[in-house]
Amino acid sequence: MTQQLDSAAAMDPFGIWRAARDANLEAWSRLMIEVVNSDAYARATGAMLENYMVTSQPVQEVLAKVMTSALTMLNMPSRAEVMTLSTRLTHIETRLDDLDAQLRAITDLLQQGLAPANRRTKAKNTQEAV
């Protein structure tokens, strides 16, 4: 039985691969962490990003112009117009938030002012009832 299991394990290619993998993965991880923490890696990724931006930025600008013209012709709001609207909505929301807080402060003050008056009325009513 044991022999059968051993032969099955020996024939399991995943088992062999897994054992090799686990043995090497930690060392590989340490090596890669050293690589990404180097100045050379920082320089290389910086250069790659720079290249991407240099090539994509002009394309994006052209696309944005074409899209704005197309939307204007279709009588649709452009991205910039939607953004302006969104900013205005946020301003309104901010004002409402302030008004809400002020209203609450006034309500609290009124309640504080009314509380002694209510207590006086209650005491008077009790006296009259007695």
């Binding site: 993965l25 962490i33 990404v36 920082a42 320089r43 990724t45 930025q57 901010t94 938030d97 807080a101």
Partner: protein, 359 residues
């Protein structure tokens, strides 16, 4: 003959297993885990930000009097604090009798690219706190900030020490960038390698995908290989599979960072280290950690590769709080609070520290 039958039976069972594993992998890679299940209500909104109040489960008499506000980073979803039932810090703290609130910054759109740290600290945060106090009917509160959320709460605590903040818990807080050799980020964002203005001119906001790449590339083998191998090895274990699914849902739920905030973070903090130098100003007000008066707990993850421990630890003498503690917890940047061991170590420690200070 018997040997042949056994071989066929084994082959059939192997094929069934492969079929089940394929179905599991398909489910994990094409669906979202139902995260953030702790019952809550939205009590305040502004622009994309929302303030949640979690429905208490403990009778009022047994609850702590000081509410707790959770503030997560700007570039990931805050539901990492409420990942899944049984592995949710929010659920745990609600169960411990805390009145818990969470500030969700939301995902900034192109119209938010102008938002700065100033706006988050001096506009959004005070407004959310004002609402929290009115809703809870209290004047004092505790605040827990994680990652960039810890940076924002530190700035707030330094600028508004009289606003009722009683306890401040910082988790993996990136505050001190003196050590330019500490961690990959510090090196990558150096002026000679990264043109922040060009990135923001191209994208407006810092894309979530780029931030995600940066975070994962700090530990490439773990994030791009070991993570998947661990899943592959444990496809028969539902507990590990579900945990992986929830975490994978969060990791891939990317949001950008407002352009102006990203510029400040890189230029004024990572490069110029203004908070430590005492030259950081938000809307003209100097941010001085010495002004913080709230009781302070600074939690550091010893194996944190995103916020290396020195970026938090070195700040301890600078905090003005009379009651301050530093905890070093084994674990990584996210694992320290959302890992499977957090429920037995980090969370009870935080709850125990907070309890006597929340009476």
């Amino acid at each position: 003959m018997a040997e042949q039958t056994a071989m066929w039976t084994r082959l059939e069972s192997d094929l069934r297993r492969i079929e089940a594993h394929t179905a599991t992998l398909m489910r994990l890679t094409t669906t979202r885990y139902p995260v953030a299940q702790t019952p809550k209500e939205v009590i305040w909104t502004l622009n994309k930000a929302q303030l949640y109040h979690y429905i208490p489960v403990v009778p009022p008499a047994q609850r702590h009097r000081v509410p707790l506000l959770l503030v997560f980073a700007l570039m990931n979803r805050p539901y990492i604090l409420d990942l899944r039932p049984g592995n949710s810090f929010v659920e745990y703290m609600v169960g411990q009798g805390y009145d818990v609130y969470l500030l969700d910054w939301g995902a900034p759109g192109p119209d938010d690219s102008h938002l700065q740290i100033d706006d988050y600290v001096l506009d959004y945060l005070p407004r959310a706190i004002r609402k929290l106090k009115a809703f809870a009917g209290v004047e004092t509160f505790s605040m827990l900030g994680w990652c960039i959320g810890a940076l924002l709460t530190t700035c707030y605590a330094a600028l508004r020490p009289d606003d009722g903040l009683r306890n401040l818990i910082l988790l993996t807080a990136p505050l001190d960038f003196s050590d330019k050799q500490a961690g990959g980020f510090t090196r990558w964002v150096a002026e000679e390698y990264l043109d922040v203005d060009k990135i923001l001119a191209t994208f407006g906001n810092m894309p979530g995908e780029l931030i995600d790449y940066g975070a994962k590339a700090l530990k490439p083998v773990e994030n791009y290989i070991t993570n998947y191998l661990r899943l592959f090895d444990n496809l028969d274990n539902p507990r590990i599979v579900e945990s992986w699914h929830a975490m994978n849902t969060w990791v891939n739920d990317l949001i950008p960072m407002a352009g102006a905030t990203y510029r400040q973070l890189i230029v004024e903090l990572y490069r110029q280290n203004r908070l430590v130098a005492g030259t950081l100003q938000l809307r003209g007000e100097p941010v001085l950690p010495a002004h913080i008066r709230a009781s302070l707990l600074n939690v550091i993850a010893t194996a944190d590769h995103i916020t290396p421990p020195c970026q938090s630890e070195n700040m301890m003498p600078a905090f003005g709080s009379a009651d301050k503690e530093l905890w070093k917890v084994p674990g990584g940047h996210i694992g320290v609070m959302a890992g499977s061991g957090a429920v037995k170590s980090t969370w009870p420690q935080i709850a125990a520290w907070l309890a006597p200070r929340s009476a």
